[in-house]
């Protein structure tokens, strides 16, 4: 009985010490770090060429600057990304870059970071409250969508039926690119949208969807997909139906397989969002902020249209 009591008191004391140490420990890392050394990059997922390219660029710049960057994979889960950010902020870090899973959900975590004196750079998809972060490096998805649709409409001569493949509904990229599409289509009354549906960025969903659209009897002259993964699925369906001379397919992302398809003359065009540049600039910007420099709140990187004419520059 007595030993048990003593043991429990000792355990409780140990626990209390640990908790107090942890609370106190949060502050122990910081200020007076002469040279910023430790950074963290939170990416929404690592399951396609785009995210891998982005992450590689961030790491490359970090190596060039002589600092460390840890990449945290959010697994497309907003709650997971929030936990990752909170944990890192708690342990102390010189700066963080976030490619957000959700443009709304992570805002509290972003605010917590900036309030702890940690510079936050958002990359590629802007959060819905830009003032919460220190800076944004990325693209205006609207421009990418507009660029892609403009080329499609041009190729159609301003007249024809277009089918659109969307990304996951409500994602920043989907909303932005759709806005861009709409602007171009509204300006071209000879163009009609005959189908518009989401294929969630995936090749097999796009393949099935386009296969079925081609059965509907409605004439389709161009298929515009919000990313290359879906564009390649659409392309396969079109080629299987032997309609490649009647229907042009457009993508966005400039992934290696899309570039190869453009080179082979199968994919009409894709759009590069200068993923590498975004990554390099994001790392550069957060480093500058950690060094105490001021930066532009927004750094927009250009989209580039890639067709068979200029594809060799990108291969």
């Amino acid at each position: 009985m007595k030993t048990r009591k003593v043991l429990s008191i000792v355990l409780v004391l140990l626990m209390m010490t640990a908790i107090l140490a942890a609370c106190g420990g949060g502050a122990k890392e910081e200020p007076a770090a002469q040279e910023p050394k430790e950074f963290a990059f939170f990416i929404s997922h690592m399951t396609n060429a785009f995210t891998i390219e982005l992450s590689d660029a961030v790491k490359a710049k970090a190596a060039e600057l002589g600092v460390n960057v840890t990449v945290n994979d959010g697994g497309k889960d907003a709650a997971k990304q929030i936990s990752q950010i909170e944990t890192t902020v708690n342990q102390g870090i010189d700066g963080i870059i976030i490619e957000p899973v959700s443009v709304d959900a992570i805002i509290p975590a972003v605010k917590a970071a900036t309030e702890a004196g940690i510079p936050v750079v958002i990359v590629n998809q802007q959060i819905s409250d830009p003032s919460a972060a220190s800076a944004y490096v990325g693209v205006a998805n609207k421009d990418g969508g507009a660029l892609e649709m403009t080329k499609a409409v041009e190729d159609l001569g301003g007249k024809g039926n277009v089918a659109i493949l969307l990304g996951p509904m409500g994602s920043d990229a989907q909303i932005g690119r759709s806005e861009g599409y709409k602007a171009v289509i509204d300006a071209n009354p000879g163009v009609t949208v005959v189908f518009e549906s989401t294929a969630n960025w995936t090749t097999d969903e796009a393949l099935k969807l386009v296969e079925n659209w081609l059965q509907s009897g409605k004439e389709i002259n161009a298929i515009v997909a919000q990313n290359d993964g879906m564009a390649l699925g659409a392309l396969k369906a079109v080629e299987d139906a032997k309609l490649q001379d009647k229907i042009k397919v457009y993508g966005l992302d400039a992934t290696p397989d899309a570039l190869a398809a453009v080179k082979e003359g199968r994919l009409a065009a894709t759009v590069s969002q200068s993923t590498t540049t975004q990554g390099l600039e994001a790392m550069n910007t957060v480093y500058k902020l950690a060094m105490g420099e001021t930066v532009e709140p927004e750094l927009l990187v250009d989209f580039t249209l890639i067709t068979s004419e200029n594809v060799d520059e990108f291969l």
């Binding site: 060429a49 189908f195 989401t198 995936t202 090749t203 097999d204 993964g229 396969k236 397989d257």
Partner: protein, 322 residues
């Protein structure tokens, strides 16, 4: 006499269930034909539907055996992805003969199946848990094996495996048909099949009557795994790329096909042709609604409703037998 009529009612009850599903199927087709008279019933579209039902149908055949044996397999989607990634790795133009990626896909599928089977049979881990574990882990392996992005640049012969035709019939449908016939044969004409039903119906009785339940379970999960590997290879051929994120949710469609087909989740019962109807029904609905331009979100709601409805019929017909 009471016993006899009890048995009769049982058979009738089961037949009513399958008949009900067939009727529902015909009604849905008639409905879609009415809504899209020119497009839906065209031969080219019907071929399309069968093509689109095939990969899910192949997965459903394996799932059917697992469910009849009293288990479940959540890992088939991930297994398909890993098999697809590895098959794509080995099917770049001019590198390996065509049989190499196919055999590799089957081996990977079988390997995952064996792990599941051993977990269920010897580890006595509930099938839901072990296959949830393999589903998660195998997905991770696919991401590592592919470097996170789809493996592309596959050879023309490999693309032909899922995209070609045999006398005007899509090869995908041919594979589906062959696998359905094999699975049907196993279930209805072999001792093995009969024992699968027994294990699902009453495992203790099966054990007591001398059936090697452990070995049987491993074989059942291995069968499902191999079919998942095969389906994954077909998916990679069909999409000309081995994507680590492919097949996401495919296990749910396979389960849906089996359930809609009238096979009981409790195990021990169900007819093989139910699964075929289930797989076709899912493809028919998807195709019909795509042609009408209905958003995939509404399609999910409709699919969910049909699954619940099918299970309700199953439960009601069972309680009537009691």
């Amino acid at each position: 006499m009471k016993g006899e009529s009890g048995i009769k009612k049982g058979k009738l009850g089961e037949n009513i269930r399958e008949l009900g599903i067939l009727i529902a199927f015909i009604v849905i087709i008639a409905f879609l034909m009415a809504l899209s008279p020119d497009a839906f019933a065209r031969p080219s579209n019907l071929i399309n539907i069968v093509k689109q039902a095939s990969i899910n149908g192949i997965l459903a055949c394996g799932m059917m055996l697992v469910i009849i044996s009293g288990g479940i397999d959540l890992s088939v989607g991930s297994t398909a992805a890993l098999a697809g990634v590895m098959a794509a790795h080995f099917s770049h133009p001019g590198e390996y003969p065509l049989f190499v990626p196919i055999v590799i896909a089957l081996i990977i599928g079988a390997a995952v199946g064996v792990v599941n089977g051993i977990g269920v049979a010897y580890g006595e881990i509930p099938p839901f848990i072990i296959t949830l574990g393999t589903m998660t882990a195998v997905r991770g392996v696919s991401l590592i094996a592919s470097g996170g992005a789809p493996v592309f640049n596959v050879s023309k012969p490999f693309e032909y495996v899922a995209s070609g035709f045999l006398f005007g019939i899509p090869l995908l449908a041919v594979y589906f048909l062959i696998i359905v016939l094999i699975s049907a044969f196993i279930l209805t004409r072999t001792v093995f099949g009969r024992r699968v039903y027994t294990i699902g119906g009453n495992e203790t009785a099966a054990k007591v009557s001398g059936i090697n339940v452990r070995k049987m379970k491993i074989m059942v999960y291995t069968y499902a795994g191999m079919l998942a590997g095969f389906a994954g290879m077909l998916l990679a051929s069909r999409t000309v790329s081995g994507s680590p994120t492919a097949g996401s949710g495919y296990e749910l469609d396979a389960i849906a096909a089996v359930i809609i087909g009238g096979i009981s989740m409790a195990g021990g019962a169900g007819k093989w042709y139910g699964t075929v109807i289930g797989a076709l029904m899912i493809a028919v609905i998807g195709n019909g609604l795509d042609i009408l331009g209905v958003s995939s979100h509404y399609q999910l709601i409709i699919k969910g409703a049909i699954i619940v409805f099918a299970v309700l019929i199953d439960i009601k017909s069972k309680s009537r037998n009691v």
